[in-house]
């Protein structure tokens, strides 16, 4: 078929002004809901992850980056063969995609873009807290953030007492902490002391040294923690390497290697969350997509519109949710990039409202300064 704009838009923004939010106290909302964000740094190419097979222009522009064995989603979109777990979950209504979406940033700088994808703001480096941290704080969910990284990511900043997991290369004897714990006296030592408390209360599994370069082990531990009813409600993973200016390739290229990492993490989370997967949302986050046209090095340059990969039992159904802008030259952003027709922050705001049991309108004001972000909860998630 010939993909033209708005072919796929179902429901969508028309419900925006009609649907009020009715907070419900149901059994479902008593269950702990998990929100997991996987940051894909470097610019994830939405058209490699979820290629638009219904548009011949893509093949023409990317002769050397063509994917074979694309997994079928529907007549218009396929899925990169390395994203197997998403395909499997798609059959069970537990995977979905938002396409032609991005944060409202068109500058093509990784650093500004990554800053903005985490702060959710418009001006790089202006905000010092992350949208997820602000969302947790506004929802009064304290001490429930888990970062799978060494420093606390900007995304989670803004709410206190987050935990993180990124073990040192060797085992650390916590008995050392016991030996000096009582030396931390007085108000000025309170912060360190309470952090030592967090460390001492950590389950044994979090104390074991592991190779922090092994994302499998990290994901396994995160799943274990998230499964626990009294454990964290939010987890943040960090992946980089999506900046494939060269040898991006198709099925086995450099971009495919990175997608395989995403697939690995989601597979481990799915396998190990068990029942808790039903009450989980996994969403990816990136700073921008990539140019449609391949460059001289058979890679792609920094672009604009990308896609959000989603998995979890809190999804409404399997779907590619998009307001498709088209791939004709005049439909592209600045004549070169897939356009973004959905502010990705609307997806994140809606996801937070579902997982934190909050009014999306309230979160939009508290977290995103009242920016105009339609509530997509009804379209994307189980309410």
């Amino acid at each position: 078929m010939n993909c033209t704009r708005r072919n796929f838009l179902i429901g969508g923004s028309t419900t925006l002004f009609l649907s009020g939010y009715f907070p419900k106290i149901s059994f479902a909302s008593m269950q702990k809901k998990n929100l997991i964000i996987i940051s894909l740094r470097g610019g994830m190419d939405g058209l490699t992850a979820v290629p638009v097979i219904g548009d011949k222009r893509l093949k023409k522009l990317r002769k050397k980056l063509i994917l074979e064995d694309v997994l079928n989603l529907n007549s218009d979109f396929g899925l990169h063969p390395k994203l197997e777990i998403f395909h499997k979950l798609w059959q069970k209504n537990q995977a979905a995609f938002v396409h032609a979406t991005n944060i409202p940033y068109t500058g093509r700088s990784h650093f500004d873009g990554q800053n903005l994808m985490e702060t959710g703001a418009h001006i790089p480096y202006k905000e010092k807290t992350g949208w997820l941290g602000r969302g947790l704080l506004a929802s009064n969910i304290i001490g429930k953030g888990l970062a799978i990284s060494l420093p606390m990511p900007l995304l989670l900043r803004g709410v206190p007492q987050n935990n993180n997991f990124f073990p040192s290369p060797d085992f650390v004897e916590t008995k050392l902490i016991d030996q000096i714990y009582n030396e931390f006296k007085g108000e000025h030592n309170e912060l360190i002391k309470s952090t030592l408390d967090t460390i001492r209360k950590r389950p044994l599994s979090m104390q074991i040294a592991t190779d922090s370069d092994d994302r499998k082990k990290l994901a396994l531990e995160a799943a274990k923690q998230l499964k626990d009813q009294s454990g964290p409600r939010v987890a943040v993973f960090d992946l980089d390497g999506f900046d494939t200016h060269a040898a991006q390739g198709g099925v086995d290229g450099a971009h495919a290697d990175e997608l395989e990492e995403v697939n690995k993490i989601v597979t481990i989370l799915h396998e190990n969350l068990g029942q808790a997967f039903d009450n989980t949302l996994i969403l990816t986050l990136t700073e921008f997509g990539r140019t449609i046209k391949q460059n001289g090095g058979y890679g792609t340059e920094h672009g604009y519109g990308s896609a959000i990969l989603m998995a979890g039992g809190l999804l409404k159904k399997s779907q590619v949710y998009t307001d498709w802008p088209g791939l004709k030259k005049k439909e592209l952003f600045e004549g070169r990039d897939l356009n973004s027709t959905i502010d990705s922050r609307a997806v994140y705001n809606s996801a937070m409202s579902i997982c934190f049991n909050q009014d999306p309108e309230f979160l939009r004001k508290e977290v995103f300064w009242g920016d105009e972000l339609p509530d997509l909860s009804q379209e994307l998630f189980k309410i």
């Binding site: 001006i123 902490i177 000096i180 952090t195 060269a246 450099a254």
Partner: protein, 478 residues
């Protein structure tokens, strides 16, 4: 005066140093001159390293990407070889060695603390290959020589340095009415202008608007690298009149007449002497040396010294140290991982950095594990100095450095890695006790906490002792 003053303003006392009778004078006398870099190994120039940067990006971008466009494995292999040949994996290690050798052995350690401060105030964050080739020499050649001049001169040098211009994209900023801007349909990139206001000089407290940022960006257009096919973006900085926005500009209510390259010096003069800039930077200095939330009483004498000396950094530094001395007994300050490591290295005479002979590099093999050790440790404790994530540099606030994993990393370093860095002659219990006595008032209490291991000199025993000592509240902070 407590011995902790030597850690507040420097790195503590090494085993062969003794406390001075007049610690304030000891500190203040270190600020008039620029101490030589002591590293006996190679200290390449910024220009040489920029050339290497050029070889690396040219080789990768213009040669390898094209040659191996169909073969990612061959591409990766060829790229790794190019890394070795251009020193892409080496020069940052060498820079860390130069830096840590300096903080360990300098006769003017107080000066070195200010060096670290200014390098972080005018931070170069992790971008492209700056950490690999350029941030280290920028610290040595741009920051350091300006530390005995005025703040304004420092800002001038930084703003027109290749490193900062590349870091903040000023070479991609075109005046829309300039010759090239019109021909190519290009416009400004506001990045550098915004950070010059926000981070380097007046801070958002000055209440500048988006229009001020745009106008400053206009003034800055034309300050760019020279570009050619071979050196790409690594050419020298010059003023390209054909990129420069024509016409008068207005920043913070001051009009700057159309005056080509001279506009920048004028606006920097006004920004660097702006009262809000003086207050902002004085506050940051006090925050670094006194406490996370310095009061007006702490800051005001620094502002006075600034005004009296027309922004002379020597006088400003002396005022900061005087204040740090005055408040030494009643304020606390948490030290970020790198300063903590530098202090441990100086106080306990640890075996870092590696000797210059062993740091030698042949450009034929990957740097070995020993050569990578210091940089690896810095990364593992979470503070690789030339890889701040954002242009605002590393935080100076305790709250940003206290996460469970970041604290655990310190326990890890002190109990697992540090014992391997203890020199063979320093493994006795007596050595530790003498270092503690040299640096801490409550050394007796500290000694009692490790008394169980007084007979042990194995790596394990040393790990138990240093694991405790290095993470005591009085060592993590002062």
């Amino acid at each position: 005066m407590s011995l902790n003053f030597y850690r507040r303003v420097a790195f503590g006392l090494s085993p062969n140093e003794t406390p001075d009778k007049d610690p304030l004078n000891w500190a203040i006398n270190q600020l008039d001159t620029i101490p030589d870099l002591l590293w006996p190994g190679t200290i390449p120039t910024e220009k040489d390293l920029r050339k290497k940067y050029g070889e690396w990006v040219y080789g990768d971008r213009e040669v390898l990407r094209k040659k191996f466009k169909n073969d990612k494995h061959a591409y990766r292999k060829a790229k790794d070889e190019l890394r070795i040949k251009t020193g892409e994996r080496y020069f940052e290690l060498n820079e860390h060695a130069i830096r840590h050798f300096q903080t360990k052995y300098s006769k003017q350690p107080v000066f070195e603390r200010f060096w670290l401060f200014w390098g972080n105030h005018f931070a170069i964050s992790e971008k492209d290959f700056l950490a690999e080739f350029s941030t280290g020499p920028y610290q040595r050649e741009i920051i350091r020589p300006n530390m005995v001049k005025t703040f304004e001169e420092m800002v001038q040098s930084v703003t027109t340095s290749w490193c900062m211009i590349h870091h903040l994209d000023n070479s991609e900023s075109f005046g829309p009415n300039s010759k090239k801007g019109m021909e190519w349909g290009e416009t400004i990139n506001e990045n550098h202008a915004r950070e010059l206001l926000e981070l380097h000089t007046v801070s958002p407290n000055a209440g500048y608007t988006q229009e001020d940022v745009i106008q400053l960006a206009y003034i800055m257009t034309g300050w760019a690298h020279k570009w050619d096919r071979k050196n790409l973006e690594t050419g020298d900085i010059w003023f390209d009149q054909e990129m420069h926005q024509k016409g008068d500009k207005v920043v913070l209510g001051v009009k700057y007449k159309n005056d080509a390259k001279r506009e920048l010096a004028k606006v920097i003069h006004d920004l660097a002497t702006h009262p809000i800039c003086i207050k902002f930077v004085s506050t940051k200095l006090c925050r670094h040396f006194i406490t996370d939330e310095p009061t007006d009483e702490m800051i005001n004498p620094v502002i006075e010294a600034w005004n009296k000396s027309d922004g002379n950094l020597i006088e400003i530094h002396k005022a900061v140290i005087t204040q740090a001395y005055k408040y030494n007994e009643i304020t606390h300050k948490f030290h970020p991982p790198e300063i903590w490591l530098m202090q441990l290295s100086r106080m306990f005479d640890l075996n870092i950095p590696l000797s210059f002979q062993k740091m030698k590099y042949t450009f034929k093999l990957k740097p070995n594990n020993r050569q990578r050790q210091l940089s690896w440790i810095l990364r593992e404790i979470g503070h690789s100095p030339y890889r701040a994530k954002q242009p605002n540099g590393w935080s100076d606030l305790e709250v940003d450095w206290v996460s469970p994993e970041l604290l655990l990393r310190r326990f890890w370093f002190a109990s697992v890695e540090l014992p391997m860095l203890v020199k063979s002659g320093n493994r006795s219990h007596g050595f530790i006790l003498s270092c503690l006595k040299n640096n801490f008032e409550d050394h007796e209490n500290m000694a009692s906490l490790i008394d169980n291991f007084r007979f042990g000199t194995s790596d394990y025993d040393l790990g138990q002792k240093y694991g405790v000592i290095c993470n005591l509240p009085g060592v993590l902070k002062i």
